[in-house]
């Protein structure tokens, strides 16, 4: 084994500036140790206000029933399910970054994985709210879990895609939390050992589980991370596949298609990366982490966005083609009349979706735009709006006109409490993110240190000698270190 840490200078450095191990700790842990600034308090207050509005909206729904929402025949699944799928889609980027990119050996993940995983967990929490409260009698929601009970026992229907969803989302949440927290332990130990105040020592002491950094523990931790990544990779694909089964296993025109699983997964990654971009662009600016979340990181994520956006575009076209090619009157009607027709009641949503998800991300083929932070932020917001439209188009345009014209819904629009619930999840999401960004390191410190000497800018500069060395000499010198 060679001890040489070498990476071609053609590769962009992942850590900019003149850094050493201690400087990395200072830069990333530092913001956790100072008092939060005024911007943080303003942000947290707005989030908490939204959260309170959401809590009140949910209170109305729980007290007076689903009638507080405009969902009715035939739109039984309105904003609630749209928001559920939108949030759960956003929750896919974290595990994709941490698990799939770990298996692929993509080192740039180290700069963004911690924040992305945290975002995943918070997004899944927001997502889970919607089906839980949409069941109506939320106090009976535990009936969803199969356990021996005194009601028969009555078991849930294991053939139902909705029950698969319960298992998929709860498993995904648990595994994401475990993956995130086992990676966080060493960094919490760093915080604990640097803490000056009594409370910090106690809090981070409890949170770090007594981590010491022993070699054996690192060996186990790395092995654990690798296996968890191997498990989380099919898991992340399975979650949105199963979410798409909620629709694909039904016989509603526009839903009953086999393209749904890959189409939903691509869309989830697409929207998840957009959310990661918008959060990280703000985080790196506020916490001065531009050296760790570099333009290279932003560009890499923009490449994923343009790739998945194009996959989603292909999916739109193929489902449209198949609707026509199937010669199924109802299927074709759902597409031709309820979606593509711009003058139909929801035509605006369809074209909004096409514009935000397929047309505008194509601008990312330009390297200059991929590396433009402001433009990326704008695009990230646009993509998330587009992905919300996509879910809205799929759910509402397929069901607002039933087989029976007499039961067609005139127009479904949400009540203030439906909107309030959605805003409330934004409040929850950002409250949790603000707390996370204040008290926890937003970048995986230990992982950055592990790649510092190969991918740090100042270390790469010193590698010019190796770059110009002859192969024979290189071999001779390096074999000295080998066992």
């Amino acid at each position: 084994m060679s001890l040489l840490k070498y990476e071609s200078q053609l590769r962009e450095p992942l850590v900019n500036g003149d850094k050493n191990y201690h400087q990395v700790t200072e830069d990333i842990i530092g913001p956790c140790e100072t008092k939060p600034n005024r911007l943080w308090w303003i942000g947290l207050s707005i989030s908490l206000a939204l959260l309170l509005f959401g809590v009140y909206s949910v209170y109305r729904e729980v007290t007076y029933g689903i009638g507080q929402w405009n969902v009715n025949k035939t739109v039984g699944w309105g904003w609630a399910i749209t928001n559920f799928v939108w949030w759960i889609g956003i929750g896919h980027a974290g595990t994709l970054i941490s698990a799939i990119l770990l298996l692929f050996g993509q080192k740039w993940r180290t700069g963004v994985n911690r924040a992305a995983e945290a975002m995943t967990i918070f997004a899944v929490m927001c997502a889970a709210m919607f089906p839980v409260f949409h069941v109506g009698r939320v106090w009976d929601a535990f009936f969803l879990f199969p356990y021996p009970n005194s009601r028969g026992p009555v078991w849930p229907n294991f053939n139902s895609a909705l029950l698969w969803d319960v298992f998929a989302v709860s498993t995904y949440f648990t595994v994401s939390v475990l993956f995130w927290y086992t990676g966080l332990l060493p960094d919490l130990a760093t915080l604990r050992d640097r803490a000056k105040k009594k409370f910090g020592k106690m809090f981070y002491g409890l949170a770090s589980f007594g981590w010491t950094g022993s070699t054996k523990h690192w060996q186990r931790q790395e092995s654990l991370a690798l296996v968890l990544a191997g498990l989380a990779t099919p898991l992340v694909l399975s979650v949105h596949t199963i979410v798409s089964f909620d629709f694909a296993t039904s016989v509603i025109p526009g839903w009953h298609t086999t393209i749904f699983p890959p189409y939903f997964v691509a869309g989830a990654v697409f929207s998840g990366f957009a959310m990661v971009q918008s959060l990280l662009i703000i985080t790196r600016k506020v916490l001065h982490l531009e050296d760790y979340i570099t333009l290279g990181h932003i560009e890499a994520m923009n490449k994923v966005i343009v790739l998945t956006g194009s996959i989603v575009g292909c999916a739109y076209l193929s489902e449209l083609f198949v609707a026509w090619y199937s010669m199924n009157t109802y299927e074709w009607w759902a597409f031709r009349q309820n979606r593509v027709n711009i003058f139909s009641p929801y035509g605006w949503a369809y074209y909004g979706m096409i514009f935000c998800n397929v047309v505008s991300p194509q601008l990312f083929w330009s390297r200059k735009l991929r590396r433009n932070v402001l433009f990326t932020f704008f695009m990230a917001v646009l993509v998330n709006v587009g992905m919300w439209f996509e879910r809205f188009v799929i759910f509402v345009t397929s069901i607002y006109r039933d087989y029976l014209p007499s039961s067609w819904t005139t127009y479904y629009s949400p009540t203030i409490w439906e909107i309030g619930f959605f805003l409330g999840t934004f409040g929850l999401f950002f409250t949790l993110y603000f707390v996370f960004a204040k008290f926890f390191p937003v970048i995986a410190v230990a992982e950055i240190k592990a790649i510092l000497k190969t991918s740090g800018e100042n270390y790469k500069d010193k590698m010019s000698d190796i770059e110009e060395m002859s192969t024979e000499k290189f071999y001779e010198e390096e074999m000295e270190h080998a066992h």
Partner: protein, 196 residues
């Protein structure tokens, strides 16, 4: 148990690697090396064996598979056979999603539990810290002293091998319940006179 340790801290992993090699060659017993980040190959250099945590993951995983398939099969065929739209009572394809999820769930939860158990980690656990900077920027090598060892000689040996901070510490091995905001007191075993 309280033991005496010679502690040397290193700045550079390249220096650490050769030091580990030399210390082992000289016949000293390395108690542990504490590092702020995973250093690949250090476990091999120290002569640690491979971890088998992934094998445990597999065992937990197939347990999950068995529980899911067995549980759903028993419920739908034996405990309460329900006719759902005329579908078969054991529809294997429809059971795959939940089986997969439970496999992953049990494997992940079990492995993390095993990891914590093996590393003796949980909230409230406290361990001795040989160097606070070993979670920041130093790699700390800890050598265990025996009755015959000469600490001064060991300290010099570490110095020659590139350690920058060297000292000798009395420390309690293992773990105990404690809080990190409280000062650590060494637990001493003293001879107690027992009346005949």
């Amino acid at each position: 148990m309280i033991k005496k340790f010679v502690v040397g801290s290193f700045e550079d992993e390249k220096v650490l690697f050769s030091a580990v090699k030399n210390v082992r060659r000289a016949g000293y017993k390395i108690h542990d090396v504490y590092t702020p980040f995973p250093i690949h190959g250090l476990d091999k250099a120290m002569g640690l064996r491979e971890t088998s945590i992934h094998t445990m993951g597999f065992i937990y995983g197939i347990t999950g598979t068995t529980i899911a398939l067995g549980g759903m099969g028993w419920i739908f065929t034996t405990d309460w056979p329900l006719n759902i739209g005329g579908k078969p009572h054991f529809p294997l394809p429809a059971f795959i999603p939940i089986t997969f999820e439970l496999t992953v769930l049990l494997s992940a939860v079990g492995m993390v539990y095993t990891f914590c158990w093996l590393c003796k980690m949980m909230p409230g656990v406290k361990k001795h810290h040989f160097n606070l900077r070993s979670t920041d920027d130093l790699m700390t090598m800890v050598i265990e002293c025996t009755e015959n060892s000469n600490e001064a000689e060991m300290e010099n040996f570490l110095k020659d091998n590139g350690a920058i901070e060297i000292n000798t510490q009395m420390a309690e091995e293992g773990w105990w319940f404690g809080r990190y905001d409280k000062d650590q007191k060494l637990y001493r075993t003293e001879e107690i006179e027992v009346a005949d």
